[in-house]
Point group: C2
Protein backbone atom coordinates (compact mmCIF):
# COMPACT_ATOMS: atom_id res chain seq x y z
CA UNK A 1 0.00 0.00 0.00
CA UNK A 2 2.70 2.44 0.94
CA UNK A 3 6.35 2.58 -0.02
CA UNK A 4 7.89 4.63 2.75
CA UNK A 5 10.37 2.79 4.89
CA UNK A 6 10.89 2.65 8.62
CA UNK A 7 14.44 3.16 9.86
CA UNK A 8 15.48 2.31 13.39
CA UNK A 9 18.30 4.70 14.26
CA UNK A 10 20.72 4.18 17.11
CA UNK A 11 22.06 6.71 19.57
CA UNK A 12 25.32 8.25 18.50
CA UNK A 13 28.64 6.89 19.67
CA UNK A 14 30.18 10.36 19.27
CA UNK A 15 30.82 12.17 22.50
CA UNK A 16 30.89 15.57 20.83
CA UNK A 17 27.59 16.08 19.06
CA UNK A 18 28.37 19.70 18.19
CA UNK A 19 31.49 18.69 16.24
CA UNK A 20 29.60 15.88 14.54
CA UNK A 21 26.76 18.24 13.62
CA UNK A 22 29.22 20.70 12.03
CA UNK A 23 30.72 17.77 10.08
CA UNK A 24 27.30 16.60 8.87
CA UNK A 25 26.41 20.18 7.88
CA UNK A 26 29.53 20.31 5.71
CA UNK A 27 28.75 16.94 4.13
CA UNK A 28 25.21 18.12 3.30
CA UNK A 29 26.51 21.42 1.91
CA UNK A 30 28.91 19.60 -0.41
CA UNK A 31 26.22 17.30 -1.76
CA UNK A 32 23.64 20.11 -2.02
CA UNK A 33 21.13 18.81 0.52
CA UNK A 34 19.25 21.60 2.28
CA UNK A 35 18.07 20.29 5.64
CA UNK A 36 15.58 21.98 7.98
CA UNK A 37 14.96 20.71 11.51
CA UNK A 38 11.32 21.20 12.57
CA UNK A 39 10.52 21.07 16.27
CA UNK A 40 7.49 21.61 18.53
CA UNK A 41 5.48 20.25 21.44
CA UNK A 42 3.37 17.18 20.77
CA UNK A 43 0.27 18.22 18.85
CA UNK A 44 1.36 21.74 17.87
CA UNK A 45 0.72 20.86 14.23
CA UNK A 46 4.04 19.82 12.65
CA UNK A 47 2.52 17.21 10.35
CA UNK A 48 -0.52 19.32 9.39
CA UNK A 49 1.76 22.28 8.63
CA UNK A 50 3.97 20.06 6.48
CA UNK A 51 1.01 18.61 4.59
CA UNK A 52 -0.21 22.07 3.59
CA UNK A 53 3.34 23.22 2.81
CA UNK A 54 3.84 20.24 0.48
CA UNK A 55 0.53 20.96 -1.26
CA UNK A 56 1.28 24.68 -1.70
CA UNK A 57 4.79 24.04 -3.05
CA UNK A 58 3.79 21.13 -5.31
CA UNK A 59 5.37 21.52 -8.75
CA UNK A 60 7.91 24.13 -7.64
CA UNK A 61 9.85 22.58 -4.75
CA UNK A 62 10.72 18.90 -4.39
CA UNK A 63 10.33 18.08 -0.69
CA UNK A 64 11.32 15.06 1.33
CA UNK A 65 10.25 14.56 4.92
CA UNK A 66 11.95 12.45 7.57
CA UNK A 67 9.44 11.73 10.31
CA UNK A 68 11.08 11.01 13.64
CA UNK A 69 8.95 9.35 16.26
CA UNK A 70 9.48 7.18 19.26
CA UNK A 71 6.97 4.77 17.82
CA UNK A 72 4.19 4.58 15.24
CA UNK A 73 4.09 5.46 11.56
CA UNK A 74 1.01 7.66 11.38
CA UNK A 75 2.93 10.71 10.20
CA UNK A 76 4.98 9.19 7.38
CA UNK A 77 1.80 7.75 5.87
CA UNK A 78 0.11 11.17 6.06
CA UNK A 79 3.07 12.93 4.45
CA UNK A 80 3.26 10.42 1.65
CA UNK A 81 -0.43 10.86 0.94
CA UNK A 82 0.21 14.62 0.74
CA UNK A 83 2.61 13.94 -2.13
CA UNK A 84 6.13 14.19 -0.72
CA UNK A 85 8.81 11.59 -0.35
CA UNK A 86 8.71 10.31 3.21
CA UNK A 87 10.64 8.12 5.56
CA UNK A 88 9.84 7.14 9.12
CA UNK A 89 12.64 7.24 11.67
CA UNK A 90 12.18 5.37 14.92
CA UNK A 91 14.33 6.68 17.73
CA UNK A 92 14.04 3.61 19.94
CA UNK A 93 12.59 5.58 22.83
CA UNK A 94 15.01 8.51 22.52
CA UNK A 95 13.43 11.91 23.06
CA UNK A 96 15.43 13.72 20.39
CA UNK A 97 17.67 13.22 17.36
CA UNK A 98 21.38 13.96 17.42
CA UNK A 99 23.54 14.58 14.36
CA UNK A 100 24.53 10.98 13.82
CA UNK A 101 20.95 9.73 14.09
CA UNK A 102 20.04 12.37 11.51
CA UNK A 103 22.90 11.17 9.29
CA UNK A 104 21.68 7.56 9.52
CA UNK A 105 18.23 8.72 8.41
CA UNK A 106 19.55 10.92 5.56
CA UNK A 107 21.79 8.15 4.19
CA UNK A 108 18.91 5.66 4.12
CA UNK A 109 16.50 8.22 2.70
CA UNK A 110 18.44 9.30 -0.39
CA UNK A 111 18.10 13.03 -0.95
CA UNK A 112 19.84 13.67 -4.29
CA UNK A 113 16.74 14.73 -6.22
CA UNK A 114 15.25 16.89 -3.47
CA UNK A 115 15.32 20.71 -3.08
CA UNK A 116 14.41 20.58 0.57
CA UNK A 117 14.58 17.92 3.27
CA UNK A 118 12.60 18.51 6.44
CA UNK A 119 13.36 16.56 9.56
CA UNK A 120 10.27 16.41 11.74
CA UNK A 121 11.86 15.97 15.14
CA UNK A 122 10.27 14.20 18.11
CA UNK A 123 7.42 16.25 19.66
CA UNK A 124 9.22 17.82 22.61
CA UNK A 125 10.14 21.42 23.50
CA UNK A 126 13.09 20.43 25.67
CA UNK A 127 15.58 17.85 24.47
CA UNK A 128 15.55 18.39 20.68
CA UNK A 129 16.70 21.98 21.30
CA UNK A 130 19.83 20.72 23.04
CA UNK A 131 21.08 18.62 20.15
CA UNK A 132 22.32 20.20 16.93
CA UNK A 133 21.10 17.86 14.18
CA UNK A 134 23.34 19.33 11.50
CA UNK A 135 20.42 21.13 9.85
CA UNK A 136 21.00 24.51 8.18
CA UNK A 137 17.84 26.01 9.64
CA UNK A 138 15.90 25.26 12.82
CA UNK A 139 12.21 26.03 12.82
CA UNK A 140 9.80 25.62 15.73
CA UNK A 141 6.04 25.64 15.87
CA UNK A 142 4.24 27.06 18.88
CA UNK A 143 0.48 26.62 18.75
CA UNK A 144 -1.94 29.15 20.21
CA UNK A 145 -3.57 26.68 22.68
CA UNK A 146 -0.18 26.08 24.33
CA UNK A 147 -0.11 29.65 25.60
CA UNK A 148 2.02 32.74 25.07
CA UNK A 149 4.31 32.01 28.04
CA UNK A 150 6.27 29.21 26.40
CA UNK A 151 9.32 31.34 25.43
CA UNK A 152 9.74 32.08 29.16
CA UNK A 153 9.64 28.41 30.10
CA UNK A 154 11.54 26.75 27.24
CA UNK A 155 14.31 29.27 26.51
CA UNK A 156 16.72 27.04 24.59
CA UNK A 157 14.14 26.07 21.97
CA UNK A 158 13.65 29.72 21.05
CA UNK A 159 17.36 30.56 21.27
CA UNK A 160 18.24 27.85 18.77
CA UNK A 161 15.58 28.56 16.15
CA UNK A 162 15.80 30.94 13.21
CA UNK A 163 12.03 30.92 12.73
CA UNK A 164 9.00 30.40 14.98
CA UNK A 165 5.66 29.61 13.38
CA UNK A 166 2.73 30.50 15.64
CA UNK A 167 0.15 27.94 14.53
CA UNK A 168 -3.61 27.44 15.04
CA UNK A 169 -4.30 31.18 14.72
CA UNK A 170 -7.78 30.20 13.49
CA UNK A 171 -8.72 29.46 17.13
CA UNK A 172 -7.39 32.71 18.60
CA UNK A 173 -10.95 33.74 19.50
CA UNK A 174 -11.39 30.62 21.65
CA UNK A 175 -8.06 31.31 23.42
CA UNK A 176 -8.52 34.98 24.19
CA UNK A 177 -5.78 35.03 26.82
CA UNK A 178 -3.17 34.41 24.10
CA UNK A 179 -1.47 37.73 23.38
CA UNK A 180 0.15 37.83 19.90
CA UNK A 181 2.25 40.89 20.65
CA UNK A 182 3.45 39.44 23.94
CA UNK A 183 4.48 36.11 22.43
CA UNK A 184 6.52 37.90 19.78
CA UNK A 185 8.18 40.10 22.42
CA UNK A 186 8.98 37.06 24.55
CA UNK A 187 10.46 35.17 21.60
CA UNK A 188 12.62 38.19 20.74
CA UNK A 189 13.63 38.50 24.38
CA UNK A 190 15.12 35.00 24.04
CA UNK A 191 16.39 35.51 20.51
CA UNK A 192 16.17 38.87 18.69
CA UNK A 193 17.07 37.17 15.39
CA UNK A 194 14.20 34.68 15.44
CA UNK A 195 11.67 35.48 12.74
CA UNK A 196 8.02 35.04 13.80
CA UNK A 197 5.19 34.16 11.40
CA UNK A 198 1.57 33.68 12.46
CA UNK A 199 -0.11 30.85 10.57
CA UNK A 200 -3.00 28.44 10.53
CA UNK A 201 -2.26 25.10 8.93
CA UNK A 202 -6.02 24.51 8.89
CA UNK A 203 -7.06 27.66 6.97
CA UNK A 204 -3.79 28.56 5.22
CA UNK A 205 -3.44 31.94 6.95
CA UNK A 206 0.17 33.15 6.83
CA UNK A 207 1.32 30.40 4.48
CA UNK A 208 2.46 32.80 1.76
CA UNK A 209 5.00 34.32 4.12
CA UNK A 210 6.14 30.89 5.31
CA UNK A 211 6.50 29.36 1.84
CA UNK A 212 8.23 32.54 0.58
CA UNK A 213 10.70 32.19 3.45
CA UNK A 214 11.31 28.57 2.43
CA UNK A 215 11.90 29.59 -1.21
CA UNK A 216 14.30 32.37 -0.14
CA UNK A 217 16.19 29.93 2.06
CA UNK A 218 16.46 27.35 -0.74
CA UNK A 219 17.82 30.03 -3.11
CA UNK A 220 20.27 31.24 -0.47
CA UNK A 221 21.43 27.68 0.20
CA UNK A 222 21.87 26.93 -3.48
CA UNK A 223 23.89 30.12 -3.98
CA UNK A 224 26.32 28.90 -1.32
CA UNK A 225 25.95 32.08 0.72
CA UNK A 226 23.90 30.65 3.59
CA UNK A 227 25.61 30.87 6.96
CA UNK A 228 25.27 27.96 9.40
CA UNK A 229 23.12 28.58 12.49
CA UNK A 230 24.70 29.30 15.86
CA UNK A 231 23.98 26.49 18.31
CA UNK A 232 23.59 27.37 21.99
CA UNK A 233 24.17 24.55 24.48
CA UNK A 234 22.45 26.41 27.32
CA UNK B 1 5.99 39.92 47.63
CA UNK B 2 5.99 36.16 47.47
CA UNK B 3 7.36 33.60 49.88
CA UNK B 4 7.78 30.56 47.70
CA UNK B 5 11.33 29.41 47.29
CA UNK B 6 13.30 28.32 44.26
CA UNK B 7 15.29 25.10 44.61
CA UNK B 8 17.97 24.11 42.14
CA UNK B 9 18.01 20.32 42.10
CA UNK B 10 20.87 18.25 40.76
CA UNK B 11 20.76 15.13 38.65
CA UNK B 12 20.81 11.97 40.67
CA UNK B 13 24.03 10.12 41.36
CA UNK B 14 22.10 6.86 41.65
CA UNK B 15 22.45 4.50 38.74
CA UNK B 16 19.24 2.66 39.51
CA UNK B 17 16.39 5.17 39.54
CA UNK B 18 13.73 2.47 39.88
CA UNK B 19 15.25 1.22 43.13
CA UNK B 20 15.64 4.76 44.40
CA UNK B 21 12.03 5.58 43.50
CA UNK B 22 10.79 2.54 45.44
CA UNK B 23 12.88 3.69 48.39
CA UNK B 24 11.48 7.23 48.24
CA UNK B 25 7.94 5.82 47.98
CA UNK B 26 8.51 3.88 51.20
CA UNK B 27 9.92 6.95 52.94
CA UNK B 28 6.88 8.98 51.91
CA UNK B 29 4.49 6.22 53.00
CA UNK B 30 6.08 6.10 56.44
CA UNK B 31 5.84 9.83 56.95
CA UNK B 32 2.31 10.01 55.47
CA UNK B 33 3.08 12.17 52.43
CA UNK B 34 0.79 11.41 49.48
CA UNK B 35 2.61 12.41 46.30
CA UNK B 36 1.09 12.68 42.82
CA UNK B 37 3.24 13.20 39.72
CA UNK B 38 1.47 15.35 37.12
CA UNK B 39 2.74 15.25 33.55
CA UNK B 40 1.76 16.68 30.15
CA UNK B 41 3.00 18.41 27.00
CA UNK B 42 3.90 22.07 27.34
CA UNK B 43 0.72 24.11 27.44
CA UNK B 44 -1.76 21.27 28.05
CA UNK B 45 -3.00 23.08 31.14
CA UNK B 46 -1.22 21.61 34.17
CA UNK B 47 -1.05 24.90 36.07
CA UNK B 48 -4.58 26.01 35.17
CA UNK B 49 -5.94 22.60 36.20
CA UNK B 50 -4.08 22.83 39.51
CA UNK B 51 -5.34 26.35 40.19
CA UNK B 52 -8.96 25.28 39.82
CA UNK B 53 -8.33 22.07 41.80
CA UNK B 54 -6.87 24.10 44.66
CA UNK B 55 -9.85 26.46 44.62
CA UNK B 56 -12.41 23.64 44.56
CA UNK B 57 -10.72 21.73 47.38
CA UNK B 58 -10.04 24.81 49.54
CA UNK B 59 -11.00 24.14 53.15
CA UNK B 60 -11.19 20.36 52.74
CA UNK B 61 -7.79 19.26 51.37
CA UNK B 62 -4.44 20.89 52.21
CA UNK B 63 -2.45 20.91 48.98
CA UNK B 64 1.18 21.66 48.25
CA UNK B 65 2.55 22.00 44.73
CA UNK B 66 6.13 21.52 43.60
CA UNK B 67 6.54 23.25 40.26
CA UNK B 68 9.36 21.79 38.20
CA UNK B 69 10.63 23.88 35.33
CA UNK B 70 13.81 24.22 33.39
CA UNK B 71 13.68 27.93 34.07
CA UNK B 72 11.28 30.65 35.15
CA UNK B 73 8.99 30.95 38.16
CA UNK B 74 5.70 31.85 36.53
CA UNK B 75 3.91 28.75 37.75
CA UNK B 76 4.88 28.81 41.42
CA UNK B 77 3.67 32.39 41.67
CA UNK B 78 0.34 31.44 40.07
CA UNK B 79 -0.13 28.46 42.39
CA UNK B 80 0.64 30.53 45.45
CA UNK B 81 -1.90 33.14 44.38
CA UNK B 82 -4.44 30.31 44.04
CA UNK B 83 -3.93 29.60 47.74
CA UNK B 84 -1.73 26.52 47.97
CA UNK B 85 1.74 26.10 49.38
CA UNK B 86 4.17 26.22 46.47
CA UNK B 87 7.81 25.67 45.71
CA UNK B 88 9.66 26.15 42.43
CA UNK B 89 12.11 23.45 41.39
CA UNK B 90 14.68 24.28 38.73
CA UNK B 91 16.01 21.26 36.93
CA UNK B 92 19.09 22.96 35.50
CA UNK B 93 18.14 22.16 31.93
CA UNK B 94 17.08 18.58 32.64
CA UNK B 95 13.96 17.47 30.78
CA UNK B 96 12.50 15.42 33.61
CA UNK B 97 12.72 14.71 37.33
CA UNK B 98 14.08 11.48 38.73
CA UNK B 99 13.40 10.14 42.22
CA UNK B 100 16.36 11.81 43.86
CA UNK B 101 15.57 15.20 42.36
CA UNK B 102 12.03 14.74 43.68
CA UNK B 103 13.43 13.85 47.10
CA UNK B 104 15.59 17.02 47.12
CA UNK B 105 12.46 19.06 46.37
CA UNK B 106 10.30 17.29 48.99
CA UNK B 107 12.92 17.69 51.72
CA UNK B 108 13.25 21.42 51.06
CA UNK B 109 9.50 21.87 50.73
CA UNK B 110 8.38 20.41 54.06
CA UNK B 111 5.18 18.41 53.62
CA UNK B 112 4.17 17.43 57.17
CA UNK B 113 0.96 19.48 57.29
CA UNK B 114 -0.23 18.60 53.77
CA UNK B 115 -2.87 16.05 52.67
CA UNK B 116 -1.66 16.02 49.11
CA UNK B 117 1.57 17.01 47.36
CA UNK B 118 1.46 17.42 43.60
CA UNK B 119 4.66 17.43 41.61
CA UNK B 120 4.11 19.36 38.38
CA UNK B 121 6.72 17.73 36.19
CA UNK B 122 8.51 19.41 33.25
CA UNK B 123 6.20 19.89 30.26
CA UNK B 124 7.21 16.94 28.12
CA UNK B 125 5.41 13.77 26.97
CA UNK B 126 8.59 11.75 26.55
CA UNK B 127 11.27 11.80 29.24
CA UNK B 128 9.22 12.28 32.42
CA UNK B 129 7.40 9.03 31.62
CA UNK B 130 10.70 7.14 31.71
CA UNK B 131 11.64 8.15 35.23
CA UNK B 132 9.72 6.92 38.25
CA UNK B 133 9.65 9.90 40.64
CA UNK B 134 8.55 7.85 43.64
CA UNK B 135 5.01 9.23 43.44
CA UNK B 136 2.07 7.00 44.46
CA UNK B 137 -0.04 8.08 41.49
CA UNK B 138 0.91 9.33 38.02
CA UNK B 139 -1.55 11.58 36.25
CA UNK B 140 -1.23 13.00 32.76
CA UNK B 141 -3.12 15.77 31.00
CA UNK B 142 -3.80 15.54 27.29
CA UNK B 143 -5.45 18.65 25.87
CA UNK B 144 -7.93 18.51 23.01
CA UNK B 145 -5.88 20.77 20.66
CA UNK B 146 -2.98 18.28 20.80
CA UNK B 147 -5.04 15.70 18.96
CA UNK B 148 -6.48 12.26 19.69
CA UNK B 149 -3.49 10.39 18.22
CA UNK B 150 -1.10 11.06 21.12
CA UNK B 151 -1.54 7.66 22.83
CA UNK B 152 -0.28 6.10 19.59
CA UNK B 153 2.82 8.29 19.49
CA UNK B 154 3.78 8.55 23.16
CA UNK B 155 3.02 5.06 24.47
CA UNK B 156 5.09 5.09 27.68
CA UNK B 157 3.35 8.17 29.06
CA UNK B 158 0.00 6.42 28.89
CA UNK B 159 1.37 3.08 30.12
CA UNK B 160 2.76 4.68 33.27
CA UNK B 161 -0.28 6.76 34.26
CA UNK B 162 -3.20 5.71 36.44
CA UNK B 163 -5.31 8.61 35.22
CA UNK B 164 -5.52 10.71 32.06
CA UNK B 165 -7.34 14.04 32.19
CA UNK B 166 -8.53 15.16 28.75
CA UNK B 167 -8.44 18.94 29.15
CA UNK B 168 -9.76 21.95 27.18
CA UNK B 169 -13.02 20.15 26.37
CA UNK B 170 -14.61 23.62 26.13
CA UNK B 171 -12.97 24.00 22.70
CA UNK B 172 -14.07 20.63 21.29
CA UNK B 173 -16.27 22.43 18.75
CA UNK B 174 -13.24 24.27 17.33
CA UNK B 175 -11.29 20.99 17.08
CA UNK B 176 -13.90 18.84 15.43
CA UNK B 177 -11.42 16.19 14.30
CA UNK B 178 -10.80 15.25 17.95
CA UNK B 179 -12.71 12.03 18.63
CA UNK B 180 -13.44 11.52 22.35
CA UNK B 181 -14.33 7.85 21.95
CA UNK B 182 -11.21 7.18 19.90
CA UNK B 183 -8.86 8.86 22.36
CA UNK B 184 -10.28 6.77 25.19
CA UNK B 185 -9.93 3.58 23.14
CA UNK B 186 -6.34 4.47 22.27
CA UNK B 187 -5.46 5.19 25.89
CA UNK B 188 -6.96 1.85 26.93
CA UNK B 189 -5.08 0.12 24.11
CA UNK B 190 -1.88 1.33 25.80
CA UNK B 191 -3.14 0.80 29.34
CA UNK B 192 -6.52 -0.78 30.11
CA UNK B 193 -6.23 0.34 33.76
CA UNK B 194 -5.82 4.04 33.00
CA UNK B 195 -8.89 5.99 34.10
CA UNK B 196 -9.98 8.74 31.69
CA UNK B 197 -11.82 11.91 32.76
CA UNK B 198 -12.86 14.68 30.36
CA UNK B 199 -12.43 18.13 31.90
CA UNK B 200 -12.15 21.83 31.19
CA UNK B 201 -9.95 23.74 33.59
CA UNK B 202 -11.49 26.89 32.15
CA UNK B 203 -15.18 26.07 32.71
CA UNK B 204 -14.90 23.46 35.47
CA UNK B 205 -16.51 20.68 33.40
CA UNK B 206 -15.60 17.25 34.80
CA UNK B 207 -13.97 18.65 37.94
CA UNK B 208 -16.36 16.85 40.31
CA UNK B 209 -15.17 13.50 39.01
CA UNK B 210 -11.52 14.58 39.19
CA UNK B 211 -11.70 16.03 42.72
CA UNK B 212 -13.71 12.98 43.89
CA UNK B 213 -10.94 10.78 42.53
CA UNK B 214 -8.39 12.83 44.45
CA UNK B 215 -10.40 12.53 47.68
CA UNK B 216 -10.78 8.76 47.19
CA UNK B 217 -7.05 8.44 46.62
CA UNK B 218 -6.21 10.48 49.72
CA UNK B 219 -8.52 8.27 51.81
CA UNK B 220 -7.02 5.11 50.30
CA UNK B 221 -3.50 6.36 50.97
CA UNK B 222 -4.30 7.31 54.56
CA UNK B 223 -5.85 3.90 55.18
CA UNK B 224 -2.55 2.30 54.17
CA UNK B 225 -4.22 0.11 51.54
CA UNK B 226 -2.97 1.94 48.43
CA UNK B 227 -0.81 -0.20 46.17
CA UNK B 228 2.24 1.40 44.51
CA UNK B 229 2.00 1.94 40.75
CA UNK B 230 3.72 -0.41 38.31
CA UNK B 231 6.50 1.38 36.44
CA UNK B 232 7.24 0.33 32.85
CA UNK B 233 10.70 1.18 31.52
CA UNK B 234 9.64 0.67 27.90
Amino acid sequence: MSDYRIIEVKQSVFADNNADAAKLRNELKEEGTFLINLMSSPGAGKTTTLKRTIAELAGSVKIGVMEADIDGEVDAAAIEQAGAKAIQIHTGGMCHLDADMTRQGIREFGTKDLDLVILENVGNLVCPAEFDTGAMRNVMILSVPEGDDKPLKYPLMFKNCQLALINKCDVLAAFDDFDCEKVEQRIHFRNPDCKVIFISAKTGEGFDEWTDTLKDWIAEFKSGSMKPPVHHDI
